[in-house]
């Protein structure tokens, strides 16, 4: 008997015989990679939900489970470093399912020649971030690769969280009429990284927003706010997060450009480079979907916390007459009052010529 042949690679190889940077950019190409290569290979109901965390259930105990790899250059940037990112990013993925983050693992890939002091500083900031988020790092692994085979330091963290409520916080719970709340101004992390990257000749004091947002989520839950959906804004920015939710929930989300806070420095840098803040990465911001009647109370709770001081109501889920949108829709009312569609980013955002 002939053994089952390995199925042909489902990505159009003629188009992409090699991996491009955009395959990791959080936009269309990355989604194509997930949909055509990873999801078919590992297909199962938990994976299909495509949340930041998988929700697994054992003997009545609901747990959130997630993993993330961190590669960033430079390793240290204004407002954080690869260590704070590795803790906060995974903590935030757990928090976005509504779980209380409890345990983390960490795997370090070190490049030969990495200064020990660098590693020490990163580990120290990881400890501080873990303490601040109330999580324990309980297991880990270390590997070293030859000089030139790594980029100094790569970190992967995996997280486990527990649910202390019975809400289903997911796109499927999004309802027409829901308010869309944003926890603060956008675009800081991406522009902070860009400003310190080699070759970009502008000076700025923009700091990354890198932070664990679990305290904000837990504050909402403790106040019995019925959260419908949460999503942290990472690669691909606010636009990609909303497009993903609209598509998964098959709803129309309408936002107002004038309601979205962007600090002057981020805006200035974006204007210069021809980038849209809507697509710039964040590491400490998230959107929450709550019923309109609870929006004011939820905003007050968010704003009472230093991390949510800039929280605001940026839009809502629109009820449609015919109730049918095949693939979800996000629209934004522009600064001059005209509505237009917001799409996910295609490939990397490329700075323009002039």
């Amino acid at each position: 008997m002939v053994p089952d042949a390995v199925p042909a690679c489902p990505l159009p190889l003629a188009d992409y015989p090699q991996v491009l940077m955009a395959h990791g950019g959080g936009g269309h190409l990355m989604h194509q990679l997930l949909e055509r290569l990873f999801l078919p290979a590992f297909r199962n109901p938990l994976l299909e939900t495509r949340h930041d965390s998988a929700v697994v259930e054992y003997a009545g105990l609901r747990l959130a489970f997630t993993t993330d790899a961190y590669v960033v250059q430079p390793l240290f940037f204004p407002g954080g470093d690869i260590g704070t990112l590795a803790i906060n990013g995974t903590v935030n993925d757990l928090a976005m399912s509504g779980a209380r983050p409890v345990h983390l693992s960490a795997a370090f890939i070190l490049e030969e020649g990495l200064p020990m002091d660098t590693l020490w500083r990163v580990v120290q900031s990881m400890r501080q971030a873990a303490d601040a988020a109330g999580v324990q790092l309980v297991t880990g692994d270390t590997k070293v690769v030859e000089r030139g085979k790594g980029d100094g330091l790569f970190i992967t963290t995996t997280g486990l969280g527990v649910f202390e409520h019975r809400l289903v916080i997911a796109p499927a719970s999004v309802q027409p009429g829901d308010a869309v709340l944003l926890s603060g101004d956008i675009g800081r992390h991406g522009m902070a990284i860009m400003a310190v990257r080699e070759g970009l000749g502008f000076e700025s004091t923009i700091e990354s927003d890198c932070a664990a947002v679990s305290p904000l989520v837990l504050a909402l839950l403790n106040a019995d706010i019925e959260i419908h959906c949460l999503r942290d804004l990472t690669r691909g920015g606010l636009a990609s997060a909303l497009v993903e939710i609209a598509a998964a929930a098959r709803v129309h989300i309408a936002i107002d450009a004038n309601a979205i806070p962007v600090c002057a420095e981020v805006r200035g840098a974006c204007e210069l480079l021809g980038l849209e803040p809507l697509y710039v990465a964040n590491e400490g911001r998230f959107v929450s979907f709550v019923s309109a009647t609870e929006a004011e109370r939820a905003l007050a709770i968010l704003r009472a916390h230093p991390l949510g001081a800039g929280a605001c109501h940026i839009g809502s889920v629109v009820a449609l007459q015919d109730g049918h949108i095949p693939s979800g829709l996000v629209t934004m009312r522009s600064q001059i009052g005209v509505s237009r569609v917001v799409d996910m980013l295609s490939g990397e955002q490329l700075p323009r010529i002039c």
Partner: protein, 373 residues
């Protein structure tokens, strides 16, 4: 943010829209020349504020879009040479050559760097004396002074490992080519504000005269564009054809003379092939003989390529404002920003990319919302 917010004010935009509706008593077609203006129009929905009989058509002002395939093929060839580092602005990297693009060449190990200024490329040349650093000098008159400065400095420093692959193009000859076409339907122009900030606008005065077409030097914010349209319409309705300056906060009639002197020192006008528009006489910059040593085509003895654009791509018609991006059968189907058939789908200033990003999903629902609000 200062100098931005005041030009994106919804109430002021509404006022302008009402003024425009009053001025325009008959159908008019106005072309915005610059890709930055096209992008702002589509991003903010400026065209939705205009009366139906005032049509904005998008011009050839996206530098990436008009760079001919053969020059991109030359950049691709250079990038595969082990001794060469090719530096380029970001939006050039994904523009397809005949078989591939610079990002693909980079993924295969080619040394391709994205830079924000030609002076960054110059710094790379100083750091890597064992490599040849080539800067892909694309763009209109706006980017030319910085490129001229890079070459000027390289010569003063005696750098022998820096060169330019020059693809510079000039706006007035392209406008003239459009106006001279027998089936031209453009009745007024919004000229590119940033180009005029460098060059001034005296070169447009004979065009306005000869072709009896109003030309308004216009900025890039929504209110700039609305004001530019209003000024252009006033001239059209009054039967006037003059050059006017809307963008007074950045543009003087004589332009930036220091920049012009530098351009004069380093560059001379040469005939140039435009993607989608063909050969246009005196429509580009090339290095003067005194700076010919910095010409990458000459330094590397690059072959002349004979190339054809994908037969399905109608970018030529889009660049001349004769077709809208969505009138292309490949638009959004076989041609997307990830897999572009033509350059206007790549650059953020390209009309096809702007329509893909902001208008592709324009469902009847969204259209109704847009009209309602």
């Amino acid at each position: 943010m200062k100098f931005v917010d005041e030009y994106r004010n919804a109430r002021a935009a509404e006022r302008y829209a009402r003024v425009i509706a009053r001025i325009a008593t008959q159908p008019w077609t106005i072309m915005e020349v610059c890709g930055g203006q096209t992008h702002a129009i589509v991003q903010f929905g400026v065209d939705a504020l205009l009366p139906h009989h005032v049509t904005l058509v998008h011009g050839p002002g996206c530098p990436v879009c008009v760079t001919p395939v053969e020059l991109i093929d030359k950049a691709l060839e250079l990038a595969t040479r082990p001794e060469v580092i090719v530096c380029s602005f970001g939006d050039m990297l994904r523009v397809p050559g005949t078989t591939t693009d610079l990002l693909m060449v980079k993924a295969r190990g080619g040394n391709v760097r994205m830079v924000y200024s030609p002076l960054d490329a110059l710094a790379l040349a100083r750091q890597h004396s064992d490599k040849q650093v080539v800067f892909f000098a694309v763009g209109f008159e706006t980017t030319a002074p910085a490129n001229a400065m890079a070459v000027y400095q390289a010569q003063r420093e005696g750098l022998t490992n820096f060169s330019l692959l020059v693809a510079h193009v000039l706006v007035p000859p392209a406008m003239e080519a459009l106006l001279a076409a027998p089936d031209n339907r453009v009745q007024g122009f919004l000229a590119a504000g940033h180009v005029c900030a460098v060059m001034g606008y005296t070169a447009y005065e004979p065009l306005a005269q000869r072709y009896q077409v109003p030309i308004v030097v216009t900025g890039f914010e929504p209110l700039d564009i609305l004001q530019g349209v209003a000024m252009c319409l006033r001239q059209l309705e009054a039967g006037r054809a003059a050059v006017e300056n809307q963008y007074t906060r950045a543009v003087r009639r004589q332009g930036n003379q220091a920049a012009q002197h530098l351009l004069e020192e380093v560059f001379q006008t040469v005939p140039r092939r435009w993607r989608g528009m063909g050969d246009i006489p005196s429509s580009g910059f090339g290095l003067r003989p005194a700076y010919a040593a910095f010409d990458a085509e000459r330094r590397f003895g690059l072959a002349q390529y004979a190339t054809e654009t994908a037969s399905e791509c109608i970018s030529g018609l889009v660049l001349q404002g004769r077709k809208r991006p969505y009138e292309c059968p490949a638009f959004g189907m076989r041609c997307t920003p990830e897999r572009p058939l033509g350059a206007p789908m790549v650059s953020s200033e390209g009309a096809c990319a702007a329509y893909y990003r902001y208008r592709r999903l324009q469902s009847p629902v969204a259209a109704a919302l847009s009209e309602g609000g």
